[in-house]
Every structure is written in structure tokens, then in C-alpha cells.
């Protein structure tokens, strides 16, 4: 049994690599983009706020899988052809930025008006006020919700199969169909659980670091 699991590891590891690539690129790019989305969504420029609202509605209101399909198979019809990995990354970032945007919006709206006024009478620019005063407080508030999304993202990475990219779950399916065995899938489940356990731990650490004030 152990010997068999050992033979599975190289392909599972390859799949894991793709999963982690999609995961980290998405996370690193969609969080800042999410902040931007929340700013646009709360913008006083009505058109910008409305367009952002529409974007959020589309991204959250339709399955991520369909969004991937549209970007990969639909855009070539209008002359935009993207390769597989680019497609997946763009779809994931756009989708997750919408979710993060709404989380950040909730966080920003929960900050006391007095914080803006205090910054204003001190003469801080709106940009500095946001970066130094508002955003750090928002991060602390939204951290648990972000943690939730991150766990979802780990599992959502399996959707990249739709454009034929081999990730963790697909690696498990291949081995499972090949060897007529459930063991590869069980192994994949363990890897997912380990991943989510690690990220949960990381987030607990980060939350602790943010708990220096109340």
C-alpha cells in the first residue's frame, strides 16, 4: 500500500504545483484588485459605482466555471485568444476580486466616520488617510471573511480542468481511472485537507498579529 502511494506522489505533486500556482497568483493579485473594486464601488462618481456594481453582480452571480469557459472559448469569437493559464488566472482574479471587493466594502463602511474627520483636520490627504488610517483597520475587520474565501479558493482551483490544465484533483482522477482504485482520490483529499489546514493556521497567525489593538 505504501509502495503504491509512493508511486502516486510524483503526479500528485505535479498537480499540486499547478494548484498552488493558480492559488497564489490569484490571491496576490485579487486582494489589491479587490481593494480597488471596493473603492470604485463606493466612489462618488455614480457611473463608476454603477459599472462596478454590475461587474460584481456578474462575477458573483454566475458560476466561475462558466466565466472560465466564456473567456477561453467565447473571447476567441471576438478575436481575443488567450492561452490556458492566462485564461484561468484572469477568470480567477476577476471573480475573486469581486468577492474581496464586497468584503472590503463592508469593512470600509464599518469604519467610524470620526476616523476620516480626525485625519482630515490633521491635514492628511485622502490617499494617505485611506492607506494609513482606514485600510489597516479594514484589514483587521475583514480578515476572518478573507480567510473563508481563501479556503474556498483552494478548492476552486480544481475548476481549471475545464481548459485542460492538470491540477491536483485531475491528477487524482487520472490515477484513479488508471489503477481502478480510490486510493489516489483519498490521497488527493488528504492533500487538500493539509493545504486548508496550513492556510487556516497561517490566517490564525495573521489574525493574532492584528489583535494588538481592539
Amino acid at each position: 500500500m505504501l509502495a503504491y502511494i509512493y508511486t502516486l506522489l510524483p503526479s500528485i505533486f505535479d498537480g499540486l504545483l499547478m494548484t498552488l500556482k493558480v492559488f497564489f497568483v490569484t490571491l496576490i493579485l485579487s486582494i489589491p484588485l479587490g481593494v480597488l473594486v471596493s473603492i470604485f464601488r463606493l466612489s462618488k462618481i455614480k457611473v463608476l459605482a454603477k459599472i462596478t456594481e454590475l461587474y460584481i453582480w456578474v462575477m458573483r452571480g454566475s458560476p466561475l466555471m462558466l466565466q472560465i469557459v466564456f473567456i477561453f472559448f467565447g473571447l476567441p469569437i471576438v478575436g481575443i485568444t488567450l492561452d490556458r493559464f492566462t485564461t484561468v488566472i484572469i477568470a480567477f482574479i476577476l471573480n475573486y476580486a469581486a468577492y474581496f471587493g464586497e468584503i472590503f466594502r463592508g469593512g470600509i463602511e464599518s469604519i467610524d466616520k470620526g476616523q476620516y474627520e480626525a485625519a482630515k483636520v490633521l491635514g492628511l490627504s485622502p490617499y494617505r488617510t485611506f492607506i494609513r488610517i482606514i485600510l489597516p483597520q479594514v484589514f483587521k475587520i475583514v480578515l476572518p471573511s478573507i480567510g473563508n474565501e481563501v479556503i474556498t479558493l483552494v478548492k476552486d482551483t480544481s475548476l481549471v480542468y475545464i481548459v485542460g490544465l492538470g491540477e491536483l484533483l485531475r491528477a487524482g482522477k487520472i490515477a484513479s481511472n488508471r489503477d481502478a482504485s480510490l486510493v489516489p482520490l483519498a490521497l488527493v483529499a488528504v492533500v487538500y485537507l493539509l493545504l486548508t489546514a496550513i492556510f487556516t493556521m497561517v490566517f490564525n497567525k495573521v489574525e493574532k498579529r492584528f489583535s494588538y489593538y481592539e
Binding site: 480626525a118 483636520v121 490633521l122 491635514g123 489593538y213
Partner: protein, 248 residues
């Protein structure tokens, strides 16, 4: 005159909150604005601090117009002038509005570094001196949630003073304090006025007004009802409206 307010008017949704308000403030003076709630005191203070835009009238701070009238149109200061004005007026909010994620020291040095362009060292030195004057130097690394109400207030005062303002305005400085702490804030305010600064206080608390004010303005329903030196003011106790306010 460090502050001149002339014919200031302000409405919220058709309701006139400030009606032709005119007064001035001199360096070294402690001016208390009193009156029942809804009199428009806080709105007036917010206008002077640029948190609300007046509809009509002028505010001049150290010879710079915060707003003025031109052909019946209200012209606010340009952003460059506004930046200067911000440095001249310090504000202590009723609930202090300290930045909860920053230590006392970080609260104090943020604006001097970013607005005045001080080096970090200069800002730290200035902040430390101010904290020391207020007896707060041992709390410099504490976070606001670790402080009592009185301590928070002193940090808020220090934060406002870090920009070397010409005017310090305080919104209800005693409302959130225990009675025994009110004594402390009174002596702090008195000490500050000795410097090159005018102080503007909004308050309900007649005790503190009696203790610190040099001049008093009484407001009701958006108007200035009476303006007098402290002595004159407390001698004209026969005014029924004033009396009812003081009882409440």
C-alpha cells in the same frame, strides 16, 4: 484676531442651523460657546474646522479666508490655502477619534511627518515633549484601547498640538469624563492659553466654563443670544433663558 467669523449661515435640508453668526477670537483668549443642544454650536465648530461647508458668510483664520462671499456665492478656500488653514486649527473631538491601530506616539507623529514634512526624529521629539507636558510620556507606546477616557483626551489634545496650531478647538471636552477628571482638563486648558494660541470650547458644562473661559458666547436656535466677558455673563443671570439653560 486669529479667527474672524462674519455673517455665517448654514442650513441642513432647509432647516437653518446657523443664522448670521459673527464673532472673533484673539490669541491668549479662551472662548466658550455654550447653549442648549440643537443650538448649532457643534455645526459652528465643524465649519471652522472645515468639516462642513457654510452656505454664506466668511471665516478668516490668521488672515486666510476659509470661505467668503462673492456676489452672493460662497467661495471656499483653494486646496493650497486649505492645507495651511488645517495646520492653524487643531480639533479635539468629543469622542477623541484616536486611530485605534496606532500607538500613542504613532497617533502623534503621523501628521507632523506627512503634513509638516518633519523628519521622524523631529516629530518624535516634539511629540515626546507634548506628552511630557501633559504627563503622558509613560504611555507613549500604549494603544488607545489601553487608555482611560482622560488619558485618551490628553492624547487627542497632544495630537492636535503637534501641528503647532494657532487655534485649538475642543468639542464638549468634559462630557465623557468622570467629575474628578474635569479638574485636570481645566488646568490643562488654562495652561495652553498662556501660549501663542487661542482656544475655542464648546460645552454644556457650566463648571468648566466658569473655571477656564475668558469670554462666553451663548447660542440658541442658531443665533448668538449673548456675547460677554465671563464676569459680565455671570452677572446677567437675570436672563430667564440663560437661567433655564444653566439649570438643565
Amino acid at each position: 484676531m486669529i479667527l474672524k467669523v462674519n455673517n455665517l449661515n448654514k442650513s441642513f435640508g432647509g432647516k437653518r442651523v446657523l443664522k448670521d453668526i459673527s464673532f472673533g477670537l484673539k490669541t491668549g483668549e479662551i472662548l466658550a460657546i455654550i447653549g442648549p443642544s440643537g443650538a448649532g454650536k457643534t455645526t459652528l465648530l465643524r465649519c471652522i474646522n472645515g468639516l462642513e461647508k457654510a452656505d454664506k458668510g466668511t471665516i478668516v483664520i490668521d488672515n486666510i479666508y476659509l470661505c467668503k462671499d462673492q456676489n452672493n456665492k460662497n467661495i471656499p478656500a483653494k486646496s493650497k490655502e486649505m492645507k495651511k488653514i488645517r495646520q492653524k486649527v487643531g480639533m479635539v473631538f468629543q469622542n477623541y477619534n484616536l486611530f485605534p491601530h496606532m500607538t500613542v506616539m504613532e497617533n502623534l507623529i503621523e501628521a507632523p511627518i506627512n503634513v509638516l514634512g518633519l523628519s521622524k526624529e523631529e516629530a518624535l521629539n516634539r511629540a515626546y515633549d507634548l506628552l511630557k507636558n501633559l504627563g503622558m510620556e509613560d504611555k507613549k507606546d500604549a494603544y488607545p484601547f489601553q487608555l482611560s477616557g482622560g488619558q485618551k483626551q490628553r492624547v487627542a489634545i497632544a495630537r492636535a498640538l503637534c501641528l503647532n496650531p494657532k487655534i485649538l478647538s475642543l468639542d464638549e471636552p468634559t462630557s465623557a469624563l468622570d467629575p474628578e477628571l474635569r479638574e485636570g482638563i481645566a488646568s490643562i486648558i488654562k495652561k495652553l492659553a498662556d501660549k501663542d494660541m487661542g482656544i475655542l470650547i464648546i460645552s454644556h458644562d457650566m463648571e468648566i466654563v466658569k473655571r477656564v473661559a475668558t469670554r462666553i458666547i451663548f447660542m440658541a436656535e442658531g443665533r448668538i443670544i449673548k456675547e460677554a466677558t465671563k464676569e459680565d455673563f455671570f452677572n446677567s443671570f437675570e436672563d430667564g433663558r440663560l437661567k433655564s439653560f444653566m439649570v438643565s
